[in-house]
Point group: C2
Chain length 374, copies 2
């Protein structure tokens, strides 16, 4: 049984929607995937600003929330339609769009993704699977991380132990011991990905700079020891998994660590990049004890931050090696979108696709809601 | 093909959740329905207060919106589980719960119902169909009214012209000409149902009075002519259908009509009840021209307001007669819940169930999102 699914994902960095059109064969954890096309559709600057302001924790008018939901949905539809056009595929051939929606906040067992799946279904012209996180929360889980299911499907290996690292707004890790069963998977958010660096650029950078391109600023700066130490003393980093966090929480922890002191922007960017690398490396080190060799497969925008990747390499324990996920046929920037396409395939099959050992849920559950073709 | 569906509905009056467990046979507009059980589960006073305050138009914290969504969902689940227990039916026998959700606001082509369908699915243990209004909005409709589909299925008659009137928070009418096709159905919100009366009790009544029981206050009061006239000059009442409104808009129009003047509460209640009756009667009169006889089938809490029903009878044109919907095998207070059960049956069948002539949508579409059994 083969079907085409368009996975569509916008992360906490709120830079836009990544779409991966994939051909999925098989069922459950035995699915295989072929990536047909990847397409990125940026949010316009105003939508991005609206999302950040709504996530800031201030009260919002429900009419504004509804308008934002509509704009996010139209961006998702435009992204999928762009991917279909680029790939020369008609909506009629899609079994479904897997639409993650835009996270407005995330707390343990409480999470809000905004999206109007009926609007996406109408604008694209095919069924939509959405709202993947609620069913896991309803089963007592954190609703995150959900990508470990796809990591297991795509990257498990009979004789190699692997750790999948995605560095988006938040960074997360999935450990796949050699020959693992789904229940052996351990996965959690390690802490900040690019969200602190992006926030520094948004709020302190010169006009027009919306992220630290290639980590140039971080490469010129120096790590500020007292900010680093204060940040790492936040309770999140000593908590045992399963655990998940979100960008506003990590940004708040960093702002708290900086306190009132004035620092050079490049030094702050260096510190932020260092902290992402350091919290990933610590998570790997805690885990790597029993493993002779651990292959780190890295994806996400953080791969492009040279300072961040340099620190990650230097901080990793012996026996750990780094590969970009594109080496294993899934381009780094498409991985999360591919993951949600797989989750949607499971939803359509009525197969569970949360990983209770990663989310803390009481049991495996079928994720998502299915909105039919209009 | 027969299936059991639990329709669950909470209206703009936010008094709680009505559940109708129905056996549905057939497909599309040829479905037939047998009501197995009806059950009302009241919201607790605090949830009701939260809903009213969120609907007031003030900005809300998204965490509060999420908490309210959770409480609404648990109330829906408790309502369905209560109905199942009362009927001696197991969740396993249900094909689905049809859950309307709690409307937080409604504007033309924009509407927000809060509900976590995955939580309801988990707490009840069966699939949930929800978010019925979005697909109609995505097709250019108002997302309301949706009940006309069920009115057509349940009440159309080859030789009698009928008008279905539901007096909930808002009052609406569905005209079913004798021998009508689905496209001949005209339906719209006539204006206030009980929402203005309820609002008066909530905000001006003595402690403990949350609605005007049996219309006792209205029966003791006298209609205030200047409030009546100012209210009826609101543009909504002269607009042509399709049109829909919501409780906050009607309450605001009444508050505007009262202006700063001080009036006796009973006189205000009388005026509110009169205005509900008058706007219904006017809508019927405009329409009744071509009909020799028109049978009005009335449902909803307004049936219990004796003053309101008295005025309705006295204001109706000749040739119109009134029957409570319970006369036609669907108890008045269960009608909306039965309607959503029918809409869910259509969704499960992949059959369209909006009525474009009622909502203004460009085309018939399949409504709702389906959340699988967890």
């Amino acid at each position: 049984m083969e079907r085409l699914i368009a996975g569509a994902m916008s992360g906490t960095s709120a830079d836009g929607v990544d779409v991966a059109i994939v051909r999925v064969a098989g069922r459950g954890t035995d699915m295989t995937v072929q990536l047909i096309a990847h397409h990125h559709h940026p949010y316009d600057a105003r939508l991005r600003e609206t999302i950040f302001s709504m996530r800031g924790g201030e009260p919002v008018h429900l009419t504004d929330l509804a308008r934002c939901t509509r704009q996010v949905s139209l961006a998702y539809a435009a992204a999928v339609n762009g991917a279909l056009a680029a790939a020369g595929i008609g909506a009629f051939d899609l079994a479904a769009v897997a639409a993650h929606g835009q996270t407005m906040f995330h707390a343990p067992q409480d999470t809000m993704q905004v999206l109007d799946p009926a609007l996406v279904a109408a604008e694209v012209g095919c069924p939509v699977v959405s709202d993947f996180r609620r069913a896991d929360c309803a089963a007592g889980g954190q609703g995150a991380p959900l990508v470990p299911f796809a990591d297991y499907v795509l990257f498990r290996h009979p004789t190699r132990s692997r750790a999948l690292i995605n560095i988006g707004g938040i960074a997360n890790v999935t450990f796949l011991p050699a020959g693992a069963l789904l229940n052996d998977v351990v996965a959690f958010d390690t802490g900040p990905g690019n969200c602190v660096s992006d926030w520094l650029c948004r709020t302190r950078g010169p006009f027009g700079l919306s992220w630290d391109v290639d980590g140039a600023g971080a490469s010129r700066g120096r790590v500020i020891p007292e900010v680093r130490d204060r940040f790492l003393s936040a309770p999140y980093f000593s908590a045992a998994p399963p655990k998940s966090t979100d960008a506003p929480a990590m940004i708040a922890a960093f702002a708290h660590a900086v306190a009132e002191a004035h620092h050079d922007l490049n030094d702050l960017l260096a510190t932020a990049a260092y902290l992402t690398a350091s919290t990933i490396a610590t998570a790997v080190a805690v885990r790597v004890g029993g493993e002779k060799h651990l292959e780190l497969i890295v994806s996400g925008g953080g791969l492009k931050n040279k300072a961040m990747m340099g620190w990650l390499k230097s901080l990793l324990p012996d026996g750990a090696t780094i590969r970009p996920s594109s080496d294993l046929t899934v381009p780094a920037e498409a991985k999360e979108a591919v993951a949600f396409a797989l989750l949607a395939a499971a939803s359509l099959d009525g197969a569970p696709s949360n990983v209770p050992s990663a989310t803390g849920a009481r049991r495996p559950v079928v994720l998502g809601s299915i909105t039919p073709k209009p």
